[in-house]
């Protein structure tokens, strides 16, 4: 009797798996337009893009529950050039790289700063944005005038877990253990700042624009931007096909002015904004 029940359950599981697998294995051949102009052709491949969508204006979820932002449209434009279809999927930032290497996602676009350390684990595409970091403080703050003030042990910096801002903040303060608080996302870090649980937020300059706009009158930027970094797409180590296609596609959208148009669009009414003519990228992407 027991065996019979067991056999029935086993059969059911197998049947379910087969039933689930059948539609997935036979996707309708999409009649995507062929790629043009000697660019690589991904043949209409459907790509899953892992992204922490709490980072406006790079990527965030809008009121219609759609994932929108500069990164999303940039990837879509590149996909038009190299013939692919990209879907953004939300995930926690600190696990994203590992998820890309585990093939949970095909690649990741999430405002990633290119660093040598990360480059040992994943492959970065060409830079698509030049960036700096900046300190946010409460509006009435007068004690912190720039990153060098964070050496004083009474100040606490809030950052997002796993970001280069977290790494930088730990170098700026005297005691990394006590003075740096790490949150799941930047909105939480800013909330902590407003609630006086932290005295400053270290954030990428162009990601600060939207948070500043949303918290008008509560937070401000202090001091000049510091550091000089580039953002890039994150590909699985050794995935040359995807990397080369997106590098070529990025160059193409940069050359034909699409990149500048997207930049103008997403930083339209907010400050600070990137230099949308893109001169800083010219030597990397060619103009």
């Amino acid at each position: 009797m027991k065996r019979l029940v067991f056999a029935c359950i086993a059969l059911l599981i197998v049947a379910t798996m087969v039933a689930c697998a059948t539609p997935a294995s036979a996707p309708a051949p999409t009649t995507a337009p062929a790629a043009t102009g000697g660019l690589p052709d991904l043949k209409g491949r459907e790509l899953k893009v892992g992204s922490d969508t709490t980072y406006p204006p790079f990527e965030s979820v809008d009121k219609d529950k759609k994932i929108v932002g500069f990164d999303v449209e940039l990837v879509a434009e590149i996909c038009k050039k190299v013939n692919c279809k990209a879907t953004f999927i939300t995930a926690d930032f600190d696990g994203l790289m590992i998820a890309v290497n585990n093939k949970t996602y095909d690649f990741s676009v999430s405002g990633w700063t290119i660093t040598d350390e990360r480059g040992k684990t994943v492959d970065f595409g060409l830079p698509y944005m030049q960036n700096t970091q900046v300190l946010l403080v409460r509006n009435d703050e007068t004690r912190i005038k720039g990153p060098e003030d964070l050496k004083k042990p009474e100040f606490i910096v809030a950052v997002q877990l796993g970001t280069t801002n977290a790494i930088t903040a730990k170098k700026l303060v005297a005691d990394a253990n006590k003075q740096v608080k790490e949150f799941q996302d930047f909105p939480a870090a800013v909330q902590a700042l407003i609630n006086k649980q932290a005295d400053a937020v270290d954030i990428d300059t162009f990601a600060a624009s939207d948070l500043l706009d949303q918290n008008k009158g509560k937070v401000k930027i202090t001091g000049a931007p510091f550091g000089d970094e580039f953002l890039g797409f994150v590909f699985r180590k050794g995935d040359a096909e995807l990397k080369n296609a997106f590098d070529a596609g990025l160059k193409a959208v940069y050359k034909d002015g699409t990149w500048s148009k997207l930049c103008e669009k997403w930083w339209k009414d907010i400050e600070p904004k990137p230099e949308c003519a893109g001169k800083g990228l010219a030597d990397k992407l060619g103009k």
């Binding site: 930032f93 600190d94 696990g95 790289m97 590992i98 990360r118 040992k120 684990t121 809030a158 877990l161 796993g162 977290a166 790494i167 253990n177 608080k181 790490e182 949150f183 799941q184 939480a188 909330q191 902590a192 407003i194 609630n195 006086k196 649980q197």
Partner: protein
């Protein structure tokens, strides 16, 4: 392979593992403990012979202190909240009963993680702005925020445990106490609660262990306990396997240790039968 199966089915005695070995009583040995101990020895020998693992253990170890602190204080606070709400739950006063029932039902209907985030985003900022300055630090320290949020969340479950314990003491006890001239609170404190405590100790112990595990949720509001340390180190080093294995083992050691303490207390306070 089929041969082995055939020979096994021919021996009806082999239905019980102990009989198959011919040693009486062997089936009653706590096999799971033995497996656990052997697993623990293997894990320890791997960990303590690898410099990498020792390094990870040292780094993650600094999170244990906060995990235990948060659990300890949150449980202490939850015991108080639970006791008050539990006594109110058996009260005949309709106002007290309604308040505590509302609390229990609302809190039990909301996931703990949501409660913690709600406390961080909504309740703490509300009070931090209104409470006078020397006291406002309570709502500005994420460790205290985590402790309060966990305690409020667990208080509701503990209230129900206390209520069940109080109701398990027979009615005759309170009637006898009252007829001796005790008032309601004397009867509660001297007669009912000491008896109820014995009944509620096992479920309270379970909740203590489960709170230790749930303290991981406070990592969402940047309480730097074991889970946040693990997330952070795993993200920085890109070595999730070693870090999360170590975190799981550390939690396991803590919860098993706590369970043993709770069991010892249970046995000591058990009603002799």
């Amino acid at each position: 392979m089929p041969d082995a199966e055939l020979s096994a089915t021919k021996k009806p005695l082999s239905a019980q593992p102990g009989r198959a070995l011919g040693i009486p009583g062997i089936e009653r040995l706590p096999w799971w403990i033995i497996v656990l101990v052997i697993g623990g020895i293997i894990a320890a020998s791997v960990i303590f012979t690898s410099a990498d693992y020792i390094n990870i253990l040292q780094i993650l170890g600094s999170g244990i202190y906060l995990t235990l602190t948060v659990t300890f204080f949150a449980f202490l606070l939850a015991l108080v909240i639970g006791l008050i709400a539990g006594i109110m739950r058996v009260s005949t006063n309709p106002i007290l009963y309604t308040i505590s029932t509302l609390y229990v039902e609302v809190i039990r209907g909301i996931p703990l993680l949501v409660q913690i985030l709600y406390f961080f985003y909504v309740i703490a900022p509300f009070f931090a702005e209104r409470v006078p300055e020397p006291m406002a630090f309570i709502f500005r320290d994420e460790v205290i925020q985590g402790i309060i949020a966990l305690a409020i969340g667990y208080g509701a479950y503990l209230a129900e445990i206390y209520r069940a314990g109080i109701q398990a003491v027979s009615r005759g006890q309170i009637e006898a106490a009252r007829s001796l001239g005790m008032n309601y609170f004397q009867a509660m404190r001297l007669v009912i609660l000491p008896q109820a405590l014995r009944v509620v100790l096992p479920p309270l112990g379970n909740d203590l262990v489960s709170m230790l595990k749930d303290s991981a949720l406070t990592s969402a509001i940047s309480v730097k306990e074991l889970t946040l340390w693990t997330r952070q180190r795993s993200a920085n080093t890109f070595r999730p396997l070693e870090h999360w294995t170590m975190a799981a083992l550390l939690y396991l050691v803590m919860t098993l240790g706590l369970s043993l303490i709770v069991r010892y207390l249970e046995r000591k306070l058990a009603i002799p039968r």
